[in-house]
């Protein structure tokens, strides 16, 4: 274990069981907390931000004990923090580690930005096609309007 790793360990300690969301852009840390509803659960949570990162320069990290995320929640993370890595830990051991991926289609979780879209007026689950994953752009399957990253609101 190198010196750098030791320092990191001191900053945010390990968890026994749960999920670590690593490599979050620092400006998105609190948004990730919000969209996952982490401010509203009783699990132990450790949050670090503006930590040094080789890949990102600065990064944020969130460790949530005894919590495993569903694919819809992981899609939400991908939309606001596309650089994030998801690490699942069981009994202090990493059992899964992968970068989150923006899916080709986004169902149910995002609200259409168009106030005149039928999905904002009738009980209809939203559906989007991801037009651009780099410069995140979603197209509503119903009204065909596009929603850019800065306008994404979650349902």
């Amino acid at each position: 274990m190198g010196k750098q790793d030791k320092v990191k360990e001191l900053k945010v300690s390990a968890i026994e069981n749960g999920t670590v969301i690593d490599h979050i852009p620092p400006q998105s840390v609190f948004q990730v907390i919000g969209i996952l509803g982490l401010d509203d659960i009783n699990n132990q949570i450790m949050v670090g931000t503006n930590l040094d990162s080789g890949k990102l320069g600065k990064k944020g990290i969130i460790k949530v004990s005894s919590k495993y995320f569903e694919s819809e929640e992981i899609n939400k993370i991908a939309l606001v923090a596309p650089t994030a890595t998801l690490i699942v830990i069981k009994d202090y051991t990493v059992v899964y580690k992968a970068k989150v991926m923006i899916p080709d289609r986004i169902n149910k979780i995002v609200k259409c930005i168009n106030p005149n879209c039928i999905t904002n007026h009738e009980p209809i689950q939203t559906r989007f096609t991801v037009l651009d994953k780099e410069d995140l752009t979603l197209q509503c399957y119903y009204c065909e309007k596009t929603t850019k990253k800065e306008n994404i609101r979650f349902l």
Binding site: Y142, C143, E144, T146
Partner: protein, 305 residues
């Protein structure tokens, strides 16, 4: 065509356009063909649009179909708060196909998902109006005898005009050169320009109408609406710069035709109406033939001999 419904111009391919336009030509030669006598066509107009509704009802009647429906929602269960899904499911019990206009974008797509019978979108808010697009294509092909290698100018509100968006997208299937004339605030949005760029087609942008007239085959005029402007003074400045007068057509090419989705207000002066280059009323007439072709195609009716 996906699910046999026609919701968006994106649902149909270039081959579909040509099938429909060719069939529309046959209806133009002989509009009265009673090939849908056993069918019921429902026209559900959740917002009024006399022109489009009458065009569809005329098309259905000339094919011998029965027409049921409503032209506004004041006397319907929609007024009582019935959901769109319920209205569509009920009406699909009474009809073989539903033609609908609705003020909310995406309503027709949703209807096509819940309806057991085909849906034809006759306008969903500012989103799509595919039958207008097809009748525009028909009018261009009829007047120019082709769809490839044409110079087509779009004038006025290119930002919000849904007919412009659909027609531009449809024309990217052909070797079109686009001439886009609008005030800066009403330029064609990048979401539509994307289609032109993807096909590497040529396009030019202008702010002056006079600049394009001598070089184009089609002038597609649109109305500039006051409510699009935050500043009323800006509207006053702009509204008269995109008005077509008969004298402006002097140097136009012989084959030029003026199209307009109608209704017009003041963007084409009445002295243009008598110019043989004015084609907007014929364009509206073509709408009936195109809608006959669509109803017949979707309902699987054959022309016979």
């Amino acid at each position: 065509m996906r699910n046999n419904s026609l919701v968006s111009i994106h649902d149909i391919t270039k081959a579909d356009y040509e099938t429909i336009l060719n069939l529309a030509e046959k209806f133009e030669t002989n509009p009265k063909r009673k090939i849908l006598e056993d069918f019921v066509v429902a026209t559900l107009f959740f917002e009024p649009s006399t022109r489009t509704r009458l065009s569809f009802e005329s098309a259905a009647s000339r094919l011998g179909a029965k027409v049921i429906g409503f032209s506004d929602t004041t006397s319907t269960s929609v007024k009582k708060g019935e959901s769109l899904k319920d209205t569509i499911l009920m009406v699909s019990n009474y009809s073989d196909i539903i033609v609908m206009r609705h003020p909310k974008e995406g309503s027709a797509r949703f209807a096509s998902e819940v309806s057991p019978v085909p849906i034809i979108n006759a306008g969903d808010g500012s989103n799509q109006h595919p039958t207008q697009c097809l009748l525009d294509l028909y009018s261009i092909r009829k007047t120019q005898k082709k769809l490839d290698n044409l110079h087509i100018a779009f004038i006025g509100d290119l930002k919000y005009g849904r007919t412009v968006h659909s027609l531009v997208i449809a024309l990217t299937n052909y070797q079109t050169t686009f001439h886009l004339v609008s005030p800066i605030e009403l330029k064609l949005p990048s979401s539509v320009k994307r289609y032109i760029k993807e096909k590497n087609l040529e396009y030019h942008q202008y702010t002056e109408l006079e600049d394009v007239i001598p070089n184009v085959d089609i002038l597609y005029m649109t109305r500039i609406q006051q409510e699009r402007f935050a500043d009323p003074l800006e509207y006053e400045r702009v509204k008269n710069s995109y008005v077509l007068r008969n004298s402006m057509l002097e140097n136009a090419k012989k084959n030029l035709r003026v199209l307009h989705p109608l209704p017009r207000v003041n963007e084409i002066t009445e002295d243009v109406d008598d110019n043989p280059k004015a084609y907007y009323f014929d364009q509206a007439r073509n709408g009936v033939f195109v809608r006959q072709a669509l109803l017949a195609t979707i309902l699987g009716a054959k022309l016979g001999k």
